[in-house]
């Protein structure tokens, strides 16, 4: 306890990032055909850290979605598909540059509306979002080299639905490859985090992107459903829960529309007995507490070799005590606010289930703010594979620790899930890294690191974590059709 107090002894002076750089409108419309469209219904979007109302936002209905799809279709049929690819590229380069120029403004707004720490939105979300546009800009006039002999052509209108955990970054992951491939898009931001997507419309204005190439319709799941079922959308790209992903796959059955799904995860983070423990602890913390654990590829299942369980868990608990939970706009904050009341309730329910099923809970002593949605960093030990907290995606700052004895057992436990998005491996032995990485059924494997992202690096899942890749030239493929592929029997 005294050791714990010693670690908690440092007091940090508040270091708030100023909000003055962000000018919020009272109300936002829907961005359709390059103009603001008055929505029939609106709702209030808030700051999850304070529950303070930030703005009124449109709840797009089927007619609004229809107008957005029509605008996207018109833009596709008109100037956008006729534009030389090299010119298309330059619009994307412009967008990348504008995001870099306005990065601070976007970062503050992202933290304000989503609850994530400013140091993450500033150092991760914004640089990566700009990098995605810059990377895919360069592909726009090089598609024939990415897909030789296939005669790549744009698909048409892409409907894109993104989650609330990385609002602007997910927008970039969706819009950049779609536009580079020559498509037009209708994008629906998450219900709780629409504001950076709406501010992005101003970047599009500054970039002078032709009207209708990007359309943004805000709203809840009903808006997403209207977009998915719209007959004039050629392709759907969805990032979100496995449950909704399956519903979309069912809805699109028999339509011939393209589909990519980036869904949930329950990643194993495997620590072997020869791992550098201090680095592993940092990796575990980054793996599960980055963005409050609101990360589909979060390292939410710690698999630690039995012989080092005690020292590792001790170090981890001590490290938890040094995490600063609080104001997302404070530059010293490590763990921000839970994104919404609904998500907080989901986390609380699963944590309660963990305790009921007999796992041992640890939370460092920490004062949580009175207002807003908060959850303390949590580690469960004594977890069985059958526990809900070992099987279900919690999507919060909650780690479930399990043990293993042999590498074979580690791999078997790691793969014992319907998900297959990501995994982590910690060991000093190179051959064991490759042996383990080869056997893990997951789309991304981080060895001696965790939660790294890059526009050149394909990202996406195995099994029920979805299909299709985002990033790299692989991320272009779902946004193209290939005239060179089609053949008839006997042809």
């Amino acid at each position: 306890m005294t050791e714990e107090l010693a670690f908690r002894g440092f007091e940090y002076a508040p270091a708030p990032e100023s909000r003055s750089i962000v000018r919020l409108e009272d109300a936002y419309g829907l961005f359709v055909g390059g103009r603001w469209r008055e929505p029939a219904e609106t709702y209030t979007t808030i700051s999850p850290a304070s529950e303070e109302p930030l703005a009124q936002v449109g709840q797009a209905g089927p007619e609004d979605v229809g107008a957005a799809v029509a605008a996207a279709r018109e833009a596709f049929a008109g100037q956008w598909s006729a534009l030389r690819p090299a010119e298309r590229a330059k619009y994307l380069y412009r967008i990348a540059r504008l995001l870099q120029e306005r990065a601070r403004e976007f970062a503050v707004l992202e933290s304000l509306n989503g609850g994530k720490p400013i140091k993450e939105s500033r150092d991760v979300d914004l640089p990566l979002a700009a990098a995605h546009f810059f990377y895919y800009a360069g592909w726009a006039d090089k598609l024939e080299y990415a897909f030789p002999n296939r005669r790549p052509r744009p698909i048409g209108v892409a409907g894109q639905i993104i989650p609330w955990n990385f609002p602007l970054l997910m927008l970039a992951w969706k819009i950049a490859p779609a536009l580079a491939a020559g498509n037009t898009v209708v994008l629906k931001p998450a219900e709780t985090t629409p504001l950076t997507a709406l501010l992005f419309c101003d970047v599009l204005r500054q970039a002078e992107l032709p009207r209708g190439v990007v359309n943004i319709v805000t709203g809840d799941g009903r808006t997403g459903a209207a977009l998915v079922s719209h007959p004039d959308v050629d392709k759907i790209a969805f990032t979100g829960s496995t449950e909704v992903g399956k519903a979309i796959q069912r809805e699109l059955a028999g339509t011939g529309k393209g589909l990519t799904l980036e869904l949930g995860g329950k990643a194993a983070n495997i620590v072997f007995d020869d791992a550098p423990l201090d680095q592993a602890v940092e990796g575990i913390v980054n793996g599960i507490f980055f963005n409050q654990g609101h990360v589909c590829c979060a390292g939410s299942r710690l698999l630690v070799q039995e012989s080092i369980q005690q020292p590792l868990i001790d170090k981890l608990k001590r490290r938890l005590g040094t995490l600063r939970v609080g104001d997302p706009l404070d530059k010293n904050t490590d763990v921000g606010a839970i994104n919404s009341a609904a998500q907080l309730q989901r986390i609380e329910e699963l944590v309660a289930a963990g305790e009921q099923e007999g796992a041992e809970i640890y939370q460092p002593p920490c004062r949580l703010p009175e207002q807003g949605y908060w959850f303390a960093p949590t580690v469960f030990t004594n977890v069985a594979q059958s526990h809900r907290i070992a099987q279900e995606e919690i999507f919060g700052p909650v780690l479930s620790a399990l043990t293993f004895r042999t590498p074979e057992e580690a791999v078997e436990k790691a793969n014992n899930t319907a998900y297959g998005l990501s995994a982590g491996v910690w060991t000093e032995k190179g051959s064991r890294i490759l042996w383990t990485a080869q056997r893990l059924r997951a789309g991304v494997v981080w060895a001696n690191t965790f939660n790294r992202f890059d526009p050149t690096s394909p990202f996406g899942g195995y099994k029920e974590s979805g299909f299709g890749r985002e990033g790299g030239l692989h991320g272009l493929e779902p946004y193209l059709r290939f005239d060179g592929d089609a053949t008839e029997w006997g042809g």
Binding site: P458, S465, H474, G491
Partner: protein, 262 residues
Amino acid sequence: MTRVPVNKTYKLYVGGAFPRSESGRTYEAEAHNIAQASRKDLRDAVRIARGATAKWAGMTAYNRGQVLYRVAEMMEARASELAELCGGREEVERSVDRVVWYAGWTDKIAQVLGGANPVAGPYFNFTMPEPTGVVGIVAPGEPALLGLVSRLAPVLAGGNTAVVVASEAHPRAAIELAEVLATSDVPGGVVNVLTGLRDELAPHLASHLDVDALDLDRGDAELERAAADNVKRVVFARGDTQSPYEISSFLELKTVWHPMGQ
């Protein structure tokens, strides 16, 4: 004196053996009694295909290429038998050549689809393709041989195992091909061929939770809906196609990161 020919009994091909349907049923096609597989036969086949994944996917790509080339050799040897069961000699020759073509891809596809990614940081990052797992193939109705070969060869070249629902109207070419596979060093269970009624078997294949991907003869809303239960990858037969991207439809891409440092 006339000799009475010995007729073949047409059976299923599951786990490297040729069992009858557990249901004891047959149906008539191409003037023969053909085994009519049941849901239980299908589930057995999926279980066996799952069990065979580690061995087939674990082979070196070079070795898998040689085994597929051996399949082509055995097809060539049976060319006249196969020709009687499909569109004729030309279809057989094209089928053999197609298998040879895919055999050559096993140790090349990774370099076409994967590679090192130039990430902006001190990391070594590479992407490589891996087999999706167990693939359910609803074979095209025709051409009897080339249709099946065109769907099966890329699945195998990628290191997957397969459960095939053979063409209902032309099942004998599929059984003949199974006899080729059984004598070609393809490990038992890697390819399992079920004959029977498409509309009876395909829904169970589409909804089976241990099937990872589905290759369909045509768009089919009911089967596609069932496939969503475990987020199956659904692929539609693209006619007379011979392409590395037919292989990549049944591959997963894995990306591995490692820091670079001292």
